[in-house]
């Protein structure tokens, strides 16, 4: 953790005086209590105004038929109707759930596998490794943009670069992005292409594995694969866990590329209707903001549940060497 190290050139530390009681034993001699709230006030206002109140508002709206056109005072309470509609009467909602789950279930593991694989290749220090690392990381910086989504969609068009490549082998490609069977796969590839960010985190994790462990394993006669399985993977499991949680949560929120591919519709035939895109369409195209709010709450609860599942299963496979990393 490069940033947590103390800056070195910080002048005299006056260690002679540091034996003075550090904690003020509850006394507030320096007005810290007030100062704390002064410094915290922008954050507190943000928490209330931008996060908490909107959340409560959206919970309330999810039980109403609110559209942006009627004033808030005239909204009608509809009980659980929005939730009922979502689960029983809106097939495209289920498409969105299905598309999002498929996307995350495929793209995240493949992306992490690619990240780990390349990290293992890069893990030996030699000249030039820094350049490779940076270049692999570059897509993670660019990949979330509209510009790259545009490029990606065109690359998998009928006349795109991918089909030109297939043509070299005499294969006639499809217009992938217009094919309901394949459109989502092209989006997955775009996500996987950005494996650089988790790769960098894996590399940092690999550096932390003590080389004595490999030596010991080697003395015990462990082969390369066995070392990977019994030393690298367990030692890396906290980092794998970290990447898995983050990438899954990010994966659920994919929006930009799906929007660009389908021009905001989720097509062809709902095949790229990511959850957030469905939410956007309901709220801002159809203006059914009550319905969209219900969707947002289900999304929030689903993400909270998945995170909980990760953390509660994590203890069975995540190995912490000294209590914490």
């Amino acid at each position: 953790m490069a940033l947590t190290t103390a800056p070195g050139r910080t002048g005299p530390t006056r260690s002679a005086r540091s034996h003075a009681p550090r904690r003020g034993a509850g006394r507030d001699r320096h007005g810290e209590g007030l100062a704390g709230y002064v410094f915290l006030s922008p954050w507190l206002i943000g928490l209330m105004g931008v996060t908490a109140i909107p959340m409560l508002l959206s919970l309330y709206l999810s039980f109403t038929n609110y559209d942006i056109l009627t004033p808030l005072s005239e909204v009608e309470w509809v009980g659980l109707a929005n939730y009922e509609r979502m689960f029983t009467a809106d097939p495209s909602y289920w498409h969105a759930v299905q598309v999002t789950l498929t996307f995350a279930l495929v793209a995240v593991p493949v992306k992490l596998a690619a990240a780990l694989g390349v990290a293992l290749l890069l893990n030996r220090a030699w000249r030039g490794v820094g350049l490779f690392r940076s270049l692999f990381y570059l897509p993670s910086l660019l990949g979330g943009s509209v510009a790259l989504a545009i490029v990606w969609v065109n690359m998998f068009n009928r006349d795109g670069a991918f089909n030109s490549f297939l043509a070299l082998f005499g294969i006639e490609g499809l217009p992938w992005v217009n094919d309901p069977e394949w459109a989502l796969e092209t989006l997955m590839l775009l996500a996987i292409w950005q494996f650089g960010a988790p790769m960098v985190i894996f590399l940092a994790g690999l550096k932390q594995v003590p080389s004595e462990l490999y030596e010991a394993a080697s003395v015990d006669g462990a082969g390369r694969f066995s070392q990977f399985w019994h030393v690298t993977l367990p030692m890396l499991s906290p980092v794998i866990f970290f990447n898995l949680v983050l990438e899954t949560i990010n994966g659920f929120q994919g929006f930009t590329a799906a929007f660009v591919l389908s021009n905001g519709t989720g097509g062809p035939v709902d095949s790229t209707l990511m959850y957030t895109l469905k939410l956007y369409i309901s709220g801002f195209t159809d203006l059914e903001m009550g319905y969209a709010s219900a969707m947002a709450w289900v999304f929030l609860i689903a993400i909270a549940l998945i995170t909980t599942v990760f953390f509660s299963t994590g203890r069975f496979w995540v190995h912490y060497s000294d209590g914490e990393r």
């Binding site: 003020g24 959340m55 709206l61 490779f132 790259l148 939410l279 995170t307």
Partner: protein, 293 residues
Amino acid sequence: MVAATSTAPRQGARRPGGRQALRLVLLVVILAVVLYPLLWMLGTSVKSQQEIVNNIGLLPQRFTPGNYTEGWSNFDLSFGRFFLNSAMVSLLTVLGNAVSCLLAAYAFARLRFRLRGIWFSVMIGTLLLPGHVLIVPQYILFRSLGLVGGDWPYLPLLIPQFLATEAFFVFLMVQFMRGIPRELDEAAKIDGANPYGIFRHVILPLSRPALVTTAIFSFIWTWNDFFRQLVFLSSLEDYTVPVALTLFIDSASQSAVGPMFAMSVLSLLPVFLFFLAFQRMLVEGINTSGLKG
């Protein structure tokens, strides 16, 4: 495995040459695949319409920079306007995040006050809160305040950034400040400094690295951000670059592919320059943060 081999420091260390070469070849191949889309984008942006369809090579046979001028003025307003809008939103976001997150982080990292533990847990809780969940009610609230599509429609994009709502940066700075030796605070206290003085003279100057990391990431993320800008910006003259780029998709006629690619390249240029200037920092910054990318 025979015990005799175990005297070598590590397996494979006896023939490093062959293995290393294989590694290198593999890496170069993967890198070529990874970089191909970027090179293809660059190549396509200077190809004529004819060549975009027919020439499958990376390089154009005839260099066509006209795509750039054509794309620049493809809509009623020039792309210069959109770039200015994007730059303004991104730079103000940088300012807002740097200031507000630093203040909050100082409170969390250094000051003792009532309910600090609870507020800190709440802050950590908001780390994983998806922004999409809040977009509908935020839109409604900002609209009811007359800020959506108002005189200056960027307020809904910027207000949250000045209120330290990017918990990730708060967390990053808290982590950083915990590394600053407490003895410095104590010394300043003995010299008569109050919490404000300590912030001004000790924490602020020493937090520069964390501020720089925050600035770089908030610039890049805001520059690339699409969702919020799409929701809150509704008239052409207010559009930022990502929103303007989607106009090309609407006019998806084949003739606009070259100009569309040209503008896509230009839109990635600031991020790319940041990458060149700060690549070390970015790669190491992601280590401490790990978020997004």
